[in-house]
Protein backbone atom coordinates (compact mmCIF):
# COMPACT_ATOMS: atom_id res chain seq x y z
CA UNK A 1 0.00 0.00 0.00
CA UNK A 2 1.38 3.37 -1.03
CA UNK A 3 -0.20 6.77 -1.32
CA UNK A 4 -0.10 8.97 -4.41
CA UNK A 5 -1.31 12.50 -4.92
CA UNK A 6 -1.31 15.12 -7.64
CA UNK A 7 -2.44 18.68 -8.11
CA UNK A 8 -2.53 20.98 -11.12
CA UNK A 9 -3.54 24.64 -11.32
CA UNK A 10 -4.81 25.79 -14.69
CA UNK A 11 -3.08 28.88 -15.99
CA UNK A 12 -1.66 30.05 -12.69
CA UNK A 13 1.03 29.44 -10.14
CA UNK A 14 0.41 28.45 -6.53
CA UNK A 15 2.19 27.12 -3.47
CA UNK A 16 2.30 23.54 -4.82
CA UNK A 17 5.08 22.61 -2.39
CA UNK A 18 2.92 23.41 0.62
CA UNK A 19 -0.17 21.87 -0.97
CA UNK A 20 1.62 18.64 -1.80
CA UNK A 21 3.06 18.47 1.72
CA UNK A 22 -0.43 18.75 3.25
CA UNK A 23 -1.78 16.08 0.90
CA UNK A 24 1.11 13.66 1.42
CA UNK A 25 1.13 14.12 5.18
CA UNK A 26 -2.56 13.16 5.21
CA UNK A 27 -1.55 9.94 3.39
CA UNK A 28 1.25 9.09 5.80
CA UNK A 29 -0.62 6.03 7.11
CA UNK A 30 -0.43 4.50 3.61
CA UNK A 31 3.36 4.38 3.73
CA UNK A 32 5.75 5.96 6.20
CA UNK A 33 9.01 4.68 4.69
CA UNK A 34 9.78 7.51 2.30
CA UNK A 35 8.17 10.55 0.71
CA UNK A 36 8.80 12.03 -2.69
CA UNK A 37 7.78 15.13 -4.63
CA UNK A 38 7.94 16.10 -8.28
CA UNK A 39 6.99 19.75 -8.32
CA UNK A 40 7.04 22.02 -11.33
CA UNK A 41 8.22 25.60 -10.94
CA UNK A 42 8.19 28.30 -13.55
CA UNK A 43 11.84 27.87 -14.57
CA UNK A 44 13.89 30.01 -16.91
CA UNK A 45 14.35 29.21 -20.57
CA UNK A 46 17.71 27.63 -21.21
CA UNK A 47 18.37 26.85 -17.54
CA UNK A 48 18.18 23.34 -16.13
CA UNK A 49 17.52 22.51 -12.50
CA UNK A 50 19.51 19.41 -11.62
CA UNK A 51 18.61 17.63 -8.38
CA UNK A 52 21.01 14.87 -7.44
CA UNK A 53 22.19 12.77 -4.52
CA UNK A 54 25.76 11.73 -3.76
CA UNK A 55 24.88 8.84 -1.45
CA UNK A 56 21.98 7.11 0.24
CA UNK A 57 20.86 8.58 3.56
CA UNK A 58 21.92 5.46 5.46
CA UNK A 59 25.37 5.53 3.84
CA UNK A 60 26.10 8.81 5.64
CA UNK A 61 26.35 7.01 8.97
CA UNK A 62 28.75 4.39 7.62
CA UNK A 63 32.49 4.88 7.97
CA UNK A 64 34.48 7.77 9.44
CA UNK A 65 35.29 9.39 6.15
CA UNK A 66 31.87 9.34 4.45
CA UNK A 67 31.58 13.12 4.54
CA UNK A 68 34.90 13.42 2.78
CA UNK A 69 33.79 10.79 0.25
CA UNK A 70 30.62 12.71 -0.70
CA UNK A 71 32.59 15.97 -0.83
CA UNK A 72 34.96 14.33 -3.30
CA UNK A 73 32.00 13.07 -5.31
CA UNK A 74 30.60 16.60 -5.45
CA UNK A 75 33.89 17.91 -6.80
CA UNK A 76 33.80 15.17 -9.44
CA UNK A 77 30.24 16.10 -10.43
CA UNK A 78 31.27 19.72 -10.94
CA UNK A 79 34.30 18.60 -12.92
CA UNK A 80 32.22 16.48 -15.26
CA UNK A 81 29.63 19.24 -15.70
CA UNK A 82 32.44 21.50 -16.80
CA UNK A 83 33.78 18.85 -19.16
CA UNK A 84 30.38 18.83 -20.91
CA UNK A 85 30.32 22.61 -21.19
CA UNK A 86 27.70 23.18 -18.50
CA UNK A 87 27.88 26.39 -16.48
CA UNK A 88 26.68 26.20 -12.88
CA UNK A 89 24.57 29.29 -12.13
CA UNK A 90 23.64 28.45 -8.54
CA UNK A 91 24.20 25.75 -5.93
CA UNK A 92 22.04 24.76 -2.99
CA UNK A 93 22.65 22.01 -0.47
CA UNK A 94 19.63 20.42 1.23
CA UNK A 95 21.80 17.86 3.03
CA UNK A 96 25.37 16.64 2.73
CA UNK A 97 24.22 14.14 0.16
CA UNK A 98 21.43 15.99 -1.69
CA UNK A 99 22.10 18.99 -3.91
CA UNK A 100 20.34 21.35 -6.29
CA UNK A 101 22.25 22.97 -9.12
CA UNK A 102 20.92 25.39 -11.69
CA UNK A 103 22.97 24.96 -14.84
CA UNK A 104 23.14 26.34 -18.35
CA UNK A 105 23.89 23.79 -21.01
CA UNK A 106 23.48 23.67 -24.78
CA UNK A 107 24.73 20.17 -25.50
CA UNK A 108 23.40 16.64 -25.09
CA UNK A 109 21.97 16.42 -21.57
CA UNK A 110 21.55 12.64 -21.78
CA UNK A 111 25.24 12.07 -22.42
CA UNK A 112 26.15 14.47 -19.62
CA UNK A 113 23.68 12.81 -17.22
CA UNK A 114 25.04 9.34 -17.96
CA UNK A 115 28.61 10.55 -17.38
CA UNK A 116 27.68 12.11 -14.03
CA UNK A 117 25.78 9.02 -12.88
CA UNK A 118 28.87 7.00 -13.66
CA UNK A 119 30.38 8.39 -10.46
CA UNK A 120 29.91 5.83 -7.69
CA UNK A 121 26.92 6.60 -5.46
CA UNK A 122 25.69 9.52 -7.58
CA UNK A 123 22.15 9.54 -8.92
CA UNK A 124 20.43 12.39 -10.70
CA UNK A 125 16.91 12.70 -9.29
CA UNK A 126 15.78 15.01 -12.06
CA UNK A 127 16.92 17.42 -14.68
CA UNK A 128 14.49 19.81 -16.23
CA UNK A 129 13.44 23.31 -16.91
CA UNK A 130 10.57 23.29 -14.40
CA UNK A 131 10.79 19.91 -12.67
CA UNK A 132 12.34 19.52 -9.24
CA UNK A 133 12.26 15.97 -7.93
CA UNK A 134 12.92 15.48 -4.24
CA UNK A 135 12.70 12.23 -2.34
CA UNK A 136 14.06 11.03 0.94
CA UNK A 137 13.29 8.81 3.90
CA UNK A 138 10.64 9.99 6.37
CA UNK A 139 7.18 11.50 6.16
CA UNK A 140 6.15 14.56 4.15
CA UNK A 141 6.64 17.01 7.00
CA UNK A 142 10.22 15.81 7.53
CA UNK A 143 11.18 15.81 3.84
CA UNK A 144 9.48 19.14 3.16
CA UNK A 145 11.26 20.79 6.07
CA UNK A 146 14.60 19.26 5.10
CA UNK A 147 14.36 20.42 1.48
CA UNK A 148 12.53 23.71 2.08
CA UNK A 149 9.50 22.79 -0.01
CA UNK A 150 6.77 24.52 1.96
CA UNK A 151 7.11 27.72 -0.05
CA UNK A 152 7.71 26.15 -3.46
CA UNK A 153 5.71 28.03 -6.10
CA UNK A 154 4.62 26.26 -9.26
CA UNK A 155 1.75 25.13 -11.44
CA UNK A 156 1.56 21.43 -10.62
CA UNK A 157 3.09 18.51 -8.82
CA UNK A 158 2.81 14.84 -7.97
CA UNK A 159 3.92 13.01 -4.88
CA UNK A 160 4.17 9.69 -3.15
CA UNK A 161 4.29 8.15 0.31
CA UNK A 162 5.86 4.74 0.16
CA UNK A 163 5.30 1.51 2.00
CA UNK A 164 8.21 -0.59 0.77
CA UNK A 165 7.02 -4.03 -0.30
CA UNK A 166 9.16 -5.43 -3.08
CA UNK A 167 12.37 -3.40 -2.80
CA UNK A 168 14.54 -1.55 -0.28
CA UNK A 169 13.83 1.40 1.97
CA UNK A 170 16.20 3.88 0.34
CA UNK A 171 16.12 6.99 -1.80
CA UNK A 172 16.79 4.96 -4.93
CA UNK A 173 13.59 2.94 -4.47
CA UNK A 174 11.48 5.93 -3.47
CA UNK A 175 9.11 7.65 -5.86
CA UNK A 176 8.67 9.74 -7.96
CA UNK A 177 10.83 8.47 -10.77
CA UNK A 178 12.30 10.72 -13.37
CA UNK A 179 11.69 9.46 -16.90
CA UNK A 180 15.39 9.61 -17.79
CA UNK A 181 16.54 11.24 -20.03
CA UNK A 182 13.38 13.23 -20.69
CA UNK A 183 13.62 16.54 -18.97
CA UNK A 184 10.57 17.41 -16.89
CA UNK A 185 8.84 13.97 -16.98
CA UNK A 186 8.11 12.18 -13.68
CA UNK A 187 5.97 9.28 -12.47
CA UNK A 188 4.39 8.10 -9.20
CA UNK A 189 2.70 4.75 -8.86
CA UNK A 190 0.58 2.74 -6.45
CA UNK A 191 0.34 -0.97 -7.19
CA UNK A 192 2.30 -3.99 -8.32
CA UNK A 193 3.55 -4.67 -11.82
CA UNK A 194 3.65 -8.38 -12.52
CA UNK A 195 5.45 -8.39 -15.88
CA UNK A 196 8.23 -6.15 -14.57
CA UNK A 197 11.14 -8.41 -15.52
CA UNK A 198 9.84 -9.12 -19.01
CA UNK A 199 9.29 -5.42 -19.65
CA UNK A 200 12.60 -4.45 -18.04
CA UNK A 201 14.46 -6.82 -20.31
CA UNK A 202 12.73 -5.30 -23.31
CA UNK A 203 13.49 -1.75 -22.16
CA UNK A 204 17.13 -2.54 -21.43
CA UNK A 205 17.50 -4.03 -24.88
CA UNK A 206 16.32 -0.69 -26.23
CA UNK A 207 19.10 1.07 -24.32
CA UNK A 208 17.22 2.39 -21.29
CA UNK A 209 18.84 2.47 -17.87
CA UNK A 210 17.33 1.36 -14.55
CA UNK A 211 18.71 2.74 -11.30
CA UNK A 212 16.69 0.54 -8.91
CA UNK A 213 14.87 -2.78 -8.79
CA UNK A 214 11.59 -1.09 -7.92
CA UNK A 215 8.79 -2.07 -10.31
CA UNK A 216 7.49 1.49 -10.40
CA UNK A 217 10.62 2.69 -12.16
CA UNK A 218 9.45 0.66 -15.15
CA UNK A 219 6.55 3.05 -15.65
CA UNK A 220 8.96 5.99 -15.89
CA UNK A 221 11.22 4.16 -18.34
CA UNK A 222 8.20 2.92 -20.30
CA UNK A 223 6.82 6.45 -20.55
CA UNK A 224 10.24 7.74 -21.64
CA UNK A 225 10.42 5.05 -24.33
CA UNK A 226 7.01 6.00 -25.68
CA UNK A 227 7.79 9.71 -25.69
CA UNK A 228 11.05 8.95 -27.53
CA UNK A 229 9.01 7.26 -30.24
CA UNK A 230 6.72 10.24 -30.68
CA UNK A 231 3.81 8.84 -28.70
CA UNK A 232 1.73 11.45 -26.90
CA UNK A 233 1.36 11.31 -23.14
CA UNK A 234 -2.30 10.33 -23.41
CA UNK A 235 -1.56 7.53 -25.88
CA UNK A 236 1.30 6.30 -23.71
CA UNK A 237 -1.05 6.07 -20.73
CA UNK A 238 -3.64 4.19 -22.82
CA UNK A 239 -1.04 1.84 -24.23
CA UNK A 240 0.26 1.05 -20.74
CA UNK A 241 -3.10 -0.40 -19.72
CA UNK A 242 -2.72 -2.99 -22.49
CA UNK A 243 0.99 -3.66 -22.10
CA UNK A 244 1.66 -3.44 -18.36
CA UNK A 245 0.32 -6.34 -16.29
CA UNK A 246 -0.71 -6.01 -12.69
CA UNK A 247 -2.75 -3.71 -10.54
CA UNK A 248 -1.83 -0.06 -10.70
CA UNK A 249 -2.88 3.52 -10.61
CA UNK A 250 -0.18 5.94 -11.66
CA UNK A 251 0.31 9.60 -12.35
CA UNK A 252 2.65 11.15 -14.90
CA UNK A 253 3.62 14.82 -14.98
CA UNK A 254 5.36 16.73 -17.74
CA UNK A 255 6.37 20.39 -17.91
CA UNK A 256 2.77 21.48 -18.51
CA UNK A 257 0.60 18.35 -18.16
CA UNK A 258 -0.57 15.90 -15.55
CA UNK A 259 -2.00 12.51 -16.51
CA UNK A 260 -3.43 9.45 -14.76
CA UNK A 261 -4.11 5.84 -15.72
CA UNK A 262 -5.91 3.06 -13.92
CA UNK A 263 -5.55 -0.66 -14.65
CA UNK A 264 -8.24 -2.99 -16.01
CA UNK A 265 -9.33 -4.14 -12.55
CA UNK A 266 -9.52 -0.66 -10.97
CA UNK A 267 -7.91 -2.35 -7.99
CA UNK A 268 -5.96 0.64 -6.74
CA UNK A 269 -7.77 3.71 -5.50
CA UNK A 270 -7.84 7.26 -6.75
CA UNK A 271 -10.22 10.03 -5.77
CA UNK A 272 -10.54 12.94 -8.16
CA UNK A 273 -11.65 16.53 -7.70
CA UNK A 274 -12.08 18.77 -10.74
CA UNK A 275 -12.95 22.45 -10.87
CA UNK A 276 -12.43 25.11 -13.53
CA UNK A 277 -9.03 26.16 -12.22
CA UNK A 278 -7.82 23.27 -10.06
CA UNK A 279 -7.63 19.48 -10.31
CA UNK A 280 -6.56 17.46 -7.31
CA UNK A 281 -6.30 13.69 -6.97
CA UNK A 282 -5.12 11.30 -4.30
CA UNK A 283 -5.36 7.72 -3.13
CA UNK A 284 -7.75 8.86 -0.43
CA UNK A 285 -10.24 11.66 -0.04
CA UNK A 286 -8.63 12.71 3.22
CA UNK A 287 -5.65 14.09 1.25
CA UNK A 288 -7.85 16.29 -0.92
CA UNK A 289 -9.72 17.50 2.15
CA UNK A 290 -6.39 18.53 3.64
CA UNK A 291 -6.18 21.36 1.09
CA UNK A 292 -9.89 21.83 0.31
CA UNK A 293 -11.68 21.73 3.64
CA UNK A 294 -15.00 23.02 2.27
CA UNK A 295 -17.58 20.58 0.90
CA UNK A 296 -16.71 19.48 -2.64
CA UNK A 297 -17.79 16.84 -5.14
CA UNK A 298 -15.29 14.08 -5.84
CA UNK A 299 -15.38 10.96 -8.00
CA UNK A 300 -13.58 7.63 -8.39
CA UNK A 301 -12.16 7.13 -11.89
CA UNK A 302 -13.19 3.76 -13.34
CA UNK A 303 -11.17 0.85 -14.70
CA UNK A 304 -9.00 1.61 -17.75
CA UNK A 305 -9.65 5.29 -17.31
CA UNK A 306 -7.04 7.68 -18.67
CA UNK A 307 -7.09 11.43 -18.15
CA UNK A 308 -4.68 14.23 -19.03
CA UNK A 309 -4.95 17.82 -17.81
CA UNK A 310 -3.13 20.89 -19.08
CA UNK A 311 -1.60 23.42 -16.67
Amino acid sequence: MCGIAGIIHKGKSSNVGGEMTSMLQALKHRGPDSTGYAVYGEGNDGDYVMRFVLAEQEDMSKGFDMHEVVAARLVEVEKRLKQHGAKVISRKEATDYAHRFVIQHDGDTEEMARHIEDIEGVEIMSMGNGLELIKDLGDAAVVSEQYGLNDFKGSHGIGHTRMATESDVDIRSAHPYWAFPYNDVSVVHNGQITNYWIMRREMERRGHRFMSSCDSELLAVYTADNLANGVSLEDSLRRSIEEIDGVFTYLVATKDQLGMAKDTMAAKPLVLYESDDLIAMASEEVAIRAILPHEIDTTDPYDEEVRVWQA
Partner: protein, 289 residues
Protein backbone atom coordinates in the same frame (compact mmCIF):
# COMPACT_ATOMS: atom_id res chain seq x y z
CA UNK B 1 -15.89 -43.33 12.86
CA UNK B 2 -17.83 -46.50 12.21
CA UNK B 3 -16.77 -48.25 9.04
CA UNK B 4 -19.33 -47.70 6.35
CA UNK B 5 -19.34 -49.29 2.97
CA UNK B 6 -19.53 -47.26 -0.22
CA UNK B 7 -22.95 -48.76 -0.88
CA UNK B 8 -24.23 -47.63 2.53
CA UNK B 9 -22.90 -44.14 2.03
CA UNK B 10 -24.47 -43.85 -1.39
CA UNK B 11 -27.86 -44.78 0.05
CA UNK B 12 -27.73 -41.88 2.50
CA UNK B 13 -28.83 -38.31 1.95
CA UNK B 14 -26.08 -35.75 1.90
CA UNK B 15 -27.00 -34.56 5.41
CA UNK B 16 -26.86 -38.12 6.77
CA UNK B 17 -23.49 -38.71 5.14
CA UNK B 18 -22.03 -35.54 6.66
CA UNK B 19 -23.13 -36.63 10.17
CA UNK B 20 -22.10 -40.27 9.67
CA UNK B 21 -18.63 -39.23 8.54
CA UNK B 22 -18.12 -37.13 11.65
CA UNK B 23 -18.05 -33.81 9.82
CA UNK B 24 -20.68 -32.41 12.15
CA UNK B 25 -21.48 -33.17 15.78
CA UNK B 26 -24.15 -31.77 18.02
CA UNK B 27 -21.85 -31.36 20.98
CA UNK B 28 -20.27 -28.01 20.24
CA UNK B 29 -18.85 -25.99 23.11
CA UNK B 30 -16.94 -22.77 23.42
CA UNK B 31 -17.62 -19.23 22.25
CA UNK B 32 -19.83 -20.29 19.38
CA UNK B 33 -22.30 -21.76 21.83
CA UNK B 34 -22.49 -18.73 24.12
CA UNK B 35 -26.05 -17.49 24.47
CA UNK B 36 -26.45 -13.73 24.45
CA UNK B 37 -30.24 -13.55 24.35
CA UNK B 38 -32.70 -14.78 26.92
CA UNK B 39 -35.00 -17.16 25.02
CA UNK B 40 -37.86 -16.41 27.42
CA UNK B 41 -37.68 -12.69 26.83
CA UNK B 42 -40.50 -11.32 24.69
CA UNK B 43 -40.42 -8.60 22.06
CA UNK B 44 -36.85 -7.54 22.50
CA UNK B 45 -35.10 -7.14 19.21
CA UNK B 46 -32.04 -5.18 20.30
CA UNK B 47 -28.77 -6.54 21.59
CA UNK B 48 -28.88 -6.90 25.39
CA UNK B 49 -26.18 -4.27 25.83
CA UNK B 50 -27.71 -1.78 23.38
CA UNK B 51 -28.29 1.63 24.97
CA UNK B 52 -31.84 2.92 25.18
CA UNK B 53 -31.90 6.04 23.03
CA UNK B 54 -34.56 8.65 22.33
CA UNK B 55 -34.75 9.78 18.68
CA UNK B 56 -36.06 13.15 19.87
CA UNK B 57 -32.97 13.74 21.97
CA UNK B 58 -30.56 15.36 19.52
CA UNK B 59 -26.98 16.53 19.77
CA UNK B 60 -24.20 17.75 17.48
CA UNK B 61 -20.56 16.67 17.43
CA UNK B 62 -17.66 18.40 15.66
CA UNK B 63 -15.00 15.76 14.88
CA UNK B 64 -12.57 18.07 13.08
CA UNK B 65 -9.91 17.82 15.78
CA UNK B 66 -10.63 14.19 16.69
CA UNK B 67 -9.14 10.97 15.42
CA UNK B 68 -11.56 8.36 14.06
CA UNK B 69 -11.15 6.33 17.25
CA UNK B 70 -11.94 9.33 19.44
CA UNK B 71 -14.95 10.25 17.31
CA UNK B 72 -16.37 6.72 17.43
CA UNK B 73 -15.85 6.50 21.18
CA UNK B 74 -17.64 9.84 21.62
CA UNK B 75 -20.60 8.63 19.53
CA UNK B 76 -20.92 5.66 21.88
CA UNK B 77 -20.76 7.91 24.94
CA UNK B 78 -23.54 10.08 23.51
CA UNK B 79 -25.66 7.00 22.83
CA UNK B 80 -25.10 5.84 26.42
CA UNK B 81 -26.40 9.26 27.50
CA UNK B 82 -29.59 8.51 25.57
CA UNK B 83 -29.05 10.65 22.45
CA UNK B 84 -30.94 9.05 19.58
CA UNK B 85 -30.09 11.65 16.92
CA UNK B 86 -26.45 12.62 16.48
CA UNK B 87 -25.23 15.09 13.85
CA UNK B 88 -21.54 14.85 13.00
CA UNK B 89 -19.79 17.92 11.60
CA UNK B 90 -16.47 18.15 9.71
CA UNK B 91 -15.78 14.45 9.08
CA UNK B 92 -13.45 15.65 6.26
CA UNK B 93 -12.76 12.26 4.73
CA UNK B 94 -11.77 10.50 7.95
CA UNK B 95 -11.80 6.71 7.79
CA UNK B 96 -13.95 4.24 9.71
CA UNK B 97 -16.33 6.77 11.19
CA UNK B 98 -19.54 5.37 12.69
CA UNK B 99 -18.52 1.72 12.43
CA UNK B 100 -19.88 -1.12 14.52
CA UNK B 101 -23.03 0.54 15.85
CA UNK B 102 -25.32 -2.32 16.79
CA UNK B 103 -28.42 -0.47 17.94
CA UNK B 104 -30.99 1.99 16.68
CA UNK B 105 -29.77 5.53 16.11
CA UNK B 106 -30.25 8.43 13.72
CA UNK B 107 -26.75 9.34 12.61
CA UNK B 108 -26.25 12.28 10.27
CA UNK B 109 -22.90 13.25 8.76
CA UNK B 110 -22.57 16.80 7.46
CA UNK B 111 -19.68 16.15 5.09
CA UNK B 112 -17.77 13.32 3.46
CA UNK B 113 -16.32 10.11 4.87
CA UNK B 114 -13.19 8.19 3.94
CA UNK B 115 -12.77 4.42 3.81
CA UNK B 116 -14.93 1.90 5.68
CA UNK B 117 -17.55 4.47 6.67
CA UNK B 118 -20.34 3.08 8.87
CA UNK B 119 -19.37 -0.53 8.25
CA UNK B 120 -20.46 -3.45 10.40
CA UNK B 121 -23.61 -1.72 11.61
CA UNK B 122 -26.79 -3.43 12.74
CA UNK B 123 -29.72 -1.07 13.06
CA UNK B 124 -28.93 2.64 12.74
CA UNK B 125 -30.34 4.93 10.10
CA UNK B 126 -27.48 6.94 8.62
CA UNK B 127 -27.58 9.92 6.29
CA UNK B 128 -24.35 11.22 4.78
CA UNK B 129 -24.64 14.68 3.25
CA UNK B 130 -21.45 14.21 1.27
CA UNK B 131 -19.42 11.51 -0.40
CA UNK B 132 -17.99 8.24 0.92
CA UNK B 133 -14.73 6.46 0.11
CA UNK B 134 -14.13 2.74 -0.41
CA UNK B 135 -16.14 0.07 1.40
CA UNK B 136 -18.97 2.15 2.82
CA UNK B 137 -21.48 -0.04 4.67
CA UNK B 138 -19.29 -3.12 4.46
CA UNK B 139 -20.87 -6.06 6.28
CA UNK B 140 -23.88 -3.98 7.30
CA UNK B 141 -26.56 -6.19 8.85
CA UNK B 142 -29.60 -3.92 9.25
CA UNK B 143 -30.66 -0.30 9.12
CA UNK B 144 -30.13 2.16 6.28
CA UNK B 145 -27.36 4.33 4.89
CA UNK B 146 -28.21 7.09 2.41
CA UNK B 147 -25.26 8.86 0.75
CA UNK B 148 -26.26 12.07 -0.98
CA UNK B 149 -23.24 12.14 -3.34
CA UNK B 150 -20.86 9.66 -4.98
CA UNK B 151 -19.28 6.62 -3.36
CA UNK B 152 -15.98 4.82 -3.85
CA UNK B 153 -15.32 1.22 -4.80
CA UNK B 154 -16.57 -1.88 -2.96
CA UNK B 155 -19.70 0.01 -1.90
CA UNK B 156 -21.64 -2.40 0.33
CA UNK B 157 -19.10 -5.23 0.17
CA UNK B 158 -20.48 -8.35 1.92
CA UNK B 159 -23.68 -6.50 2.73
CA UNK B 160 -25.98 -8.74 4.77
CA UNK B 161 -29.09 -6.65 5.29
CA UNK B 162 -30.65 -3.20 5.29
CA UNK B 163 -30.68 -0.55 2.58
CA UNK B 164 -27.51 1.07 1.29
CA UNK B 165 -28.10 3.97 -1.10
CA UNK B 166 -25.81 6.30 -3.03
CA UNK B 167 -27.64 9.00 -4.96
CA UNK B 168 -24.57 9.58 -7.14
CA UNK B 169 -22.24 7.22 -8.97
CA UNK B 170 -20.13 4.59 -7.27
CA UNK B 171 -16.76 2.95 -8.00
CA UNK B 172 -15.94 -0.62 -8.95
CA UNK B 173 -16.86 -3.95 -7.35
CA UNK B 174 -20.06 -2.60 -5.81
CA UNK B 175 -21.72 -5.24 -3.63
CA UNK B 176 -18.89 -7.71 -4.01
CA UNK B 177 -19.84 -10.82 -2.03
CA UNK B 178 -23.25 -9.31 -1.20
CA UNK B 179 -25.13 -11.69 1.10
CA UNK B 180 -28.43 -9.87 1.54
CA UNK B 181 -30.04 -6.48 1.81
CA UNK B 182 -30.45 -3.89 -0.91
CA UNK B 183 -27.90 -1.66 -2.63
CA UNK B 184 -29.27 1.24 -4.68
CA UNK B 185 -27.10 3.43 -6.90
CA UNK B 186 -28.61 6.56 -8.42
CA UNK B 187 -25.88 6.89 -11.08
CA UNK B 188 -23.36 4.50 -12.61
CA UNK B 189 -21.34 1.64 -11.16
CA UNK B 190 -17.90 0.34 -12.20
CA UNK B 191 -16.46 -3.02 -13.22
CA UNK B 192 -17.15 -6.30 -11.45
CA UNK B 193 -20.17 -5.03 -9.55
CA UNK B 194 -22.06 -7.88 -7.89
CA UNK B 195 -18.99 -10.12 -8.10
CA UNK B 196 -19.68 -13.35 -6.21
CA UNK B 197 -23.04 -12.03 -5.05
CA UNK B 198 -24.90 -14.59 -2.97
CA UNK B 199 -28.17 -12.97 -1.97
CA UNK B 200 -29.97 -9.66 -1.90
CA UNK B 201 -30.77 -7.08 -4.54
CA UNK B 202 -28.75 -4.41 -6.28
CA UNK B 203 -30.31 -1.58 -8.27
CA UNK B 204 -28.23 0.61 -10.58
CA UNK B 205 -30.21 3.43 -12.16
CA UNK B 206 -27.38 4.38 -14.54
CA UNK B 207 -24.82 2.29 -16.42
CA UNK B 208 -22.85 -0.73 -15.20
CA UNK B 209 -19.21 -1.50 -16.07
CA UNK B 210 -17.77 -4.72 -17.42
CA UNK B 211 -18.20 -8.17 -15.85
CA UNK B 212 -21.40 -7.31 -14.01
CA UNK B 213 -22.44 -10.09 -11.61
CA UNK B 214 -19.39 -12.20 -12.35
CA UNK B 215 -19.64 -15.61 -10.60
CA UNK B 216 -22.80 -14.64 -8.76
CA UNK B 217 -24.47 -17.49 -6.92
CA UNK B 218 -27.82 -15.89 -6.32
CA UNK B 219 -29.44 -12.51 -5.81
CA UNK B 220 -30.76 -10.06 -8.38
CA UNK B 221 -29.24 -7.06 -10.10
CA UNK B 222 -31.39 -4.43 -11.84
CA UNK B 223 -29.76 -1.96 -14.22
CA UNK B 224 -31.54 1.06 -15.70
CA UNK B 225 -28.82 2.02 -18.21
CA UNK B 226 -26.29 0.24 -20.38
CA UNK B 227 -24.39 -2.84 -19.22
CA UNK B 228 -20.85 -2.91 -20.61
CA UNK B 229 -20.74 -6.69 -20.21
CA UNK B 230 -22.01 -9.44 -17.95
CA UNK B 231 -19.54 -11.62 -16.06
CA UNK B 232 -19.27 -15.39 -16.00
CA UNK B 233 -22.62 -17.07 -15.27
CA UNK B 234 -24.55 -13.77 -15.00
CA UNK B 235 -27.52 -13.90 -17.34
CA UNK B 236 -30.56 -11.74 -18.13
CA UNK B 237 -33.76 -12.63 -16.27
CA UNK B 238 -37.37 -11.70 -16.94
CA UNK B 239 -38.48 -8.46 -15.31
CA UNK B 240 -41.77 -9.46 -13.70
CA UNK B 241 -44.60 -7.28 -12.40
CA UNK B 242 -43.42 -8.10 -8.89
CA UNK B 243 -39.95 -6.84 -9.79
CA UNK B 244 -41.41 -3.62 -11.18
CA UNK B 245 -43.58 -3.07 -8.11
CA UNK B 246 -40.62 -3.62 -5.80
CA UNK B 247 -38.36 -1.33 -7.86
CA UNK B 248 -40.99 1.39 -7.90
CA UNK B 249 -41.50 1.22 -4.17
CA UNK B 250 -37.79 1.24 -3.34
CA UNK B 251 -36.78 3.96 -5.79
CA UNK B 252 -39.65 6.21 -4.72
CA UNK B 253 -38.66 5.70 -1.10
CA UNK B 254 -35.26 7.26 -1.78
CA UNK B 255 -36.34 9.85 -4.35
CA UNK B 256 -34.61 8.05 -7.20
CA UNK B 257 -37.61 7.05 -9.31
CA UNK B 258 -36.80 7.70 -13.00
CA UNK B 259 -39.26 9.86 -14.89
CA UNK B 260 -39.78 7.09 -17.46
CA UNK B 261 -40.61 4.51 -14.81
CA UNK B 262 -38.90 1.15 -14.33
CA UNK B 263 -40.00 -0.85 -17.38
CA UNK B 264 -36.65 -0.25 -19.08
CA UNK B 265 -34.62 -1.91 -16.30
CA UNK B 266 -32.63 -5.02 -17.18
CA UNK B 267 -32.69 -7.83 -14.65
CA UNK B 268 -29.54 -9.92 -14.16
CA UNK B 269 -29.56 -13.21 -12.26
CA UNK B 270 -27.24 -16.20 -11.75
CA UNK B 271 -27.21 -18.70 -14.60
CA UNK B 272 -26.36 -21.42 -12.04
CA UNK B 273 -24.06 -23.11 -14.51
CA UNK B 274 -20.78 -22.59 -12.68
CA UNK B 275 -18.86 -25.85 -12.34
CA UNK B 276 -19.08 -25.72 -8.58
CA UNK B 277 -22.57 -24.31 -8.26
CA UNK B 278 -24.51 -26.05 -5.47
CA UNK B 279 -21.75 -28.60 -5.21
CA UNK B 280 -19.45 -29.97 -2.55
CA UNK B 281 -16.01 -28.62 -1.78
CA UNK B 282 -13.25 -30.84 -3.25
CA UNK B 283 -12.23 -32.05 0.23
CA UNK B 284 -15.82 -33.01 1.05
CA UNK B 285 -16.16 -34.79 -2.27
CA UNK B 286 -13.07 -36.84 -1.53
CA UNK B 287 -14.53 -37.97 1.80
CA UNK B 288 -17.95 -38.87 0.52
CA UNK B 289 -17.48 -40.29 -2.94
Amino acid sequence: MASLSDAELKEMTQEERVTALGMRTDQLTGLAMRIEFNPDEEERFEYPWAPVVDFNKRTELDVDEMTSTEANARIRELMAEGYGTIVIHNPRGKHSLGVGILSKLNLIFEGSLGYFGVGLIDGPNVRINGRVGWSCGENMMAGSIVVEKNAGSTFGAALRGGDLVSKGSVGSRTGIDQKGGTIIVGGDTGALSGFMMQRGRMVVCGNAGKNLGDSMYDGTIYVGGEIQSCGVDAVPGELSDLDKAWLTRKLKQYGLMPEKGVDHFTKIVAGRQLWNYDNLEPSEKKLIL
